[in-house]
């Protein structure tokens, strides 16, 4: 397959979809956005790589099923991340149910072997130590908050979405998206600093 200049990838993807060359569309989508989708899923699912791999595959399967409907209304990245957003939230809901079922016994196990309650700390400065806590702190955020942060800041800049496109995915205004982003960032910082609240 001939190399396509990164700036023109989205045009190429749209052109091949419109022309009905779906195999090439899939090829371009996967080669260009697999990392972006996997990173997003991985962070949404608390670093569970095996699960992130499954959900990433599901994202591309869903994309394949509706590839004929893909048009120019959104960029390919926005389209894929919208699918990833829905699937990751669904997966987290399912896992949440499972986790609740497991909770009782996990608590018993950890009580027996001395587990710890919710964290709480007094540090004010975001130090290396606190950055080390970032994956954990992300896991404490509401799924919707985590999702919006990962879409906006969760990748190399090429893998990130501007607020306008996130607004499109969430079906809210751009101003609301900015507000939600700021709130999620502030909440994340609070958790990293004080351990919650």
């Amino acid at each position: 397959m001939a190399e396509v200049h990164p700036e023109f990838i989205d045009q190429q993807i749209q052109a091949s979809a419109v022309a009905g060359d779906y195999r090439r569309t899939l090829d371009l989508l996967a080669r260009t956005y697999l990392d972006t989708v996997f990173h997003y899923c991985c962070r949404m699912l608390n670093g569970d790589r095996a699960l992130a791999e499954d959900v990433t595959q599901q994202v591309f399967e869903e994309a394949c099923k509706s590839i004929a409907e893909f048009r120019e209304e959104s960029s390919a990245k926005t389209w894929l991340l919208a699918i990833a957003h829905n699937l990751a939230l669904r997966e987290m809901k399912t896992r949440g149910r499972r986790a609740r079922l497991l909770d009782t016994h996990a608590a018993e196990v950890t009580a027996r072997v001395h587990a710890a309650p919710a964290p709480e700390s007094e540090s004010e400065v975001l130090s290396r130590e606190r950055l080390r806590r970032l994956p954990w702190a992300l896991g404490q955020l509401e799924p919707a908050e985590r999702s919006i942060l990962m879409m906006r800041f969760g990748g190399e800049r090429r893998g990130e979405l501007p607020a306008a496109e996130i607004a499109q995915i969430l079906g809210v205004s751009r101003a609301t998206t900015y507000r939600q982003l700021q709130e999620a960032l502030a909440q994340l910082k609070r958790i990293m600093t004080h351990g919650g609240g």
Binding site: L26, H39, E53, Q57, E61, V113, H114, A116, G155, Q182
Partner: protein
């Protein structure tokens, strides 16, 4: 990139934003994933669509090839005749196709409904089995609880991990340490290293099982996986258990270094606890004191000594360095409260 992020989100949030980006850089996509995505995706793609441009090109080429007007006219007349006779048939065929399509959609809809219904039933069965397992567990009927959890794990690959940990926990409470070990080992053996909460819990429980079995080296390895995985909900307990294992090793070898390692691990445990709260730190110190209680002064349990072995710091009783360290910790804890 939109505007200046420093203006948009404020200077004070820049480190968080940078942290998020740095975190993303640390994630590597599995190399085999692209091939999997392409292979599975290709099976799901709709059939390749022939573009109208192709037809236009064929017609244009044909028109260019037709040199003489009479031949051209004859061809057009033939095409009209064909359309005149074939038209009604095409309309009928289209109708039949639409009817077949509608029937197909109805069948698919029924199938989807049946599938959803089956899924709901399955969910209910799982819930019932889980409730039964939980009730048995609460009543101390660990074998029955284990059986319920095992059934769920065996029949539902998606829930397997969670319920194997539950089943293994029940087996452990039932003092069947071998069985608990086999369940957890089987699951860990072929799995790539992950830092998800379930995986860490599994390592932690497995460490406790080996600890109860007296295999201190393996127990230590399992605890250290958890303790050294950074921030997680079991890290404090894992350090405590590492301290307990070193204490037991000290008892066997009388090597001062083992005692020092035990103190260092207990120190880590208190540090992790205090990172969370002062109260948690005080609670940890209380648990260290409790672990100094001789077994015969603890509640009776049918598992015997093995039950208490994960909470045993008795080898450190009378060790002056330890006593001094603990006293110091108690004083500091009381002052901070």
């Amino acid at each position: 990139m939109e505007g200046d992020e420093r203006e948009e989100y404020g200077e004070e949030l820049q480190d968080v934003i940078e942290g998020l980006r740095r975190l993303a850089r640390g994630v590597e996509t599995p190399p085999a994933l692209l091939a999997k995505v392409l292979t599975r995706g290709e099976c799901l793609l709709p059939p390749q669509r022939r573009s109208m441009g192709w037809w236009r090109q064929v017609v244009r080429a044909w028109l260019r090839g037709v040199g003489a007007p009479p031949g051209w006219g004859l061809a057009l007349a033939s095409a009209c005749l064909v359309l005149l006779f074939a038209g009604p048939t095409i309309v009928t065929l289209r109708g039949a196709r639409a009817r077949l399509q509608a029937q197909l959609e109805a069948v698919e809809k029924r199938e989807r409904g049946a599938l959803e219904h089956a899924q709901q039933l399955m969910h209910m069965v799982i819930q019932q089995a889980d409730r039964l397992g939980h009730a048995n567990f609460e009543l101390g009927r660990y074998e029955e609880a284990e059986e319920s959890y095992w059934q769920i794990a065996e029949r539902n690959p998606q829930l397997q991990d969670d319920y194997l940990i539950k089943a293994a926990t029940a087996a452990w409470y039932a003092c069947d340490y071998q069985k608990a070990r086999d369940m957890l080992e089987e699951r860990i053996k072929d799995k790539p290293r992950s830092e998800s909460s379930n995986d860490l819990l599994r390592h932690f429980v497995l460490g406790s099982v080996y600890h109860s079995l007296g295999d201190l080296d393996t127990a230590m390895n399992q605890y250290k996986i958890v303790a050294e995985s950074g921030e997680n909900e079991y890290v404090e307990a894992a350090w405590f258990n590492v301290g307990v294992v070193y204490a037991l090793q000290y008892q066997k070898s009388k090597d001062e270094k083992e005692m020092e390692k035990s103190l260092a691990a207990l120190e880590e445990s208190i540090k992790e606890a205090s990172r969370r709260s002062r109260a948690q730190s005080a609670e940890r110190i209380r648990k260290i004191q409790e672990a100094l209680k001789p077994f015969d002064q603890r509640p009776l349990n049918k598992c015997g000594d093995q039950y208490h072995v994960t909470q045993d710091l008795t080898p450190l009783i009378g060790v002056s360095a330890f006593t001094e360290w603990l006293n110091q910790k108690q004083v500091l804890s009381q002052m901070s409260l």
